[in-house]
Amino acid sequence: MVIKSQHIPDIELQKLIKGCVARDRSCQKQVYDLFGPGMMILCLRFSRNREEAEEVLQDGFLQMYKYISQYKYKGTFEGWLRKIMINCALQRYRSKVHHFNSISLSEEHDLLTTHGDFIERISEKELIRLIQTLPTGYRLVFNLYVFEGLKHSEIASFLNIKEGTSKSNLSDARAILKKSLTRDLRMAK
């Protein structure tokens, strides 16, 4: 799917933002239509399933409409909205008990590097599903590191965990994903 939000001129976007500040419902809908799909994929990555992702998306947009007057046009609007979405996802995580313990993973023979064509054919929905199967702590660290580009020190302070825990969680997340991909590859063969 083409990313629509990148094609809107800044002036148009500013008009929409001003409309949202004035709580104009049509502007709010247009902003939702523009950025909703992009944010949905982010929410899917941070959540365990589609229902949870939709709840995060809903909370995130409501937060955004509430605080949109605080957006000072520093940085992109999309970046600001992403932060709100991530924050909503983390808030959901914070409200539940989670543990950042390490789990043991059996060594798998790595088939991935030799099967690039399979990798290319694997759908994004399948990849999302794989991320969603990760334990919550791992999923958050993996998303923040890989997709949001945060450093371990930043993730540690964001999630209130130790830097070492963040590193270990990322490593374990990768191992789980690799294992799942390998299993899928074997089944495909």
Binding site: M1, T113, F147, L177
Partner: protein
Amino acid sequence: MSEHLHNDIDKLFLDSLQPHQDEPAEHVWEKIAAQLDEEDALKHKVWMRIMFRTAACIFALAIALEIPSKLHRNGNPESEVTLKNVQESVLSREKAGNSSSPQNRVAILTDYKNKSTISRNNSNGQAINRNAETISLGAGNSFNTLVPPVIQSKQENLFSGGLHFIGLQSPVSQVASPQIDMDQIGSALENQAQVIIKRGLYSLRHRLSVTPYFSQEFVGYNLSDDDATIADGSEIEKKERTVFSASGGILLNYRWKRRWVIQSGLSYSWSSSIIDSSKSYAVKVDNSNVQFRINTISGYGYLPSHSSIAPNVGDSVLTDKAYSKLHYLTIPLITNYEFKRKRFSLLVGAGVTINFLTGATLETKIYSSSFSQNEPVVAMNGLKKINYGILLKAELNYRINSKFGIDLIPCFKNTLSPINIHSALSTYPYNFGIGLGIRYQL
């Protein structure tokens, strides 16, 4: 090799998912729109409430303003008679043709408690009313006077030199007021010089009164998420409610003009809030210390761990209801305007306050399987030592006798600067209080 593989995994997911989007289901927007409608309706309701209250305040103020003007119109019957006499006197003189020339212009001097009002006809015969402390009387002005008995003896002086007072209106109760220096007027008129009427001055002691008071208050919070991307703000807000707030102190009242009163003093206020049972997470306090942190609207506190094992970052404990207590010393500076009617007076004022934090504590119970319940009282952090606010108040006073009066003091306070720092929220408390006080005239 391992790092290379890791990068492959990262790259695989990043390249595959980053440019993609996923259309959310239709019902998501429907839910968002429904929620927005609900918020708008609530906002509308709040605005209506504010508008209604403002209208009620304006109405009450209008009535309050009407009282003194009525009082002024109806006034003291005796002074009315005096005024009538003066006017009749003026009219009779005008009919007699004595006041047709500028040299026969009319001046009526009115001395109320501590203010002088001068009514003086201009050359066209129209009355000019103004409040003044100084009047200049040109040469040849003609005056007659209705001078109170106590200063009747001075009348001769006034009439001498061809100058006459048309009227000096003084309410009988104020007749003995020495504020109008008749000697000075007389000699000034004789010399055709400037006449200065001094405003009736009270001694410092008569200008001062004190009001010890106690006020029960209802507290609310204006919360500002300075950064919407920081978590926890709305969660904290939902969990906390204020259960008790009160203040007590002493106000020093200084009357600097007849109807203007300045108030200052010292008050001590305290409030108590309940935070619902919740999980507190262990966070790094400093390099060597990890403690459970409990957040409130105002600030946060670190709960001591009674377990032999120090908590790790991210560990959580379940806390029972927590009680936060805040104590402030406040110095107000208020300007008031006074409306009077018989024994009642109403001081309507606005001012600023400076608030000094004197204490902030947090008390809760921790539930844990490994150790028994505790009730630690810990200091609250993240609060500013000083904050500023504004204050609007009305003070209805009933004068019992010349020394004592009872005050009913509704008051609204709002902080202008947040009371906290380094918190997920910037908190601006506001409160509405109803106080009871006793005014003592020094």
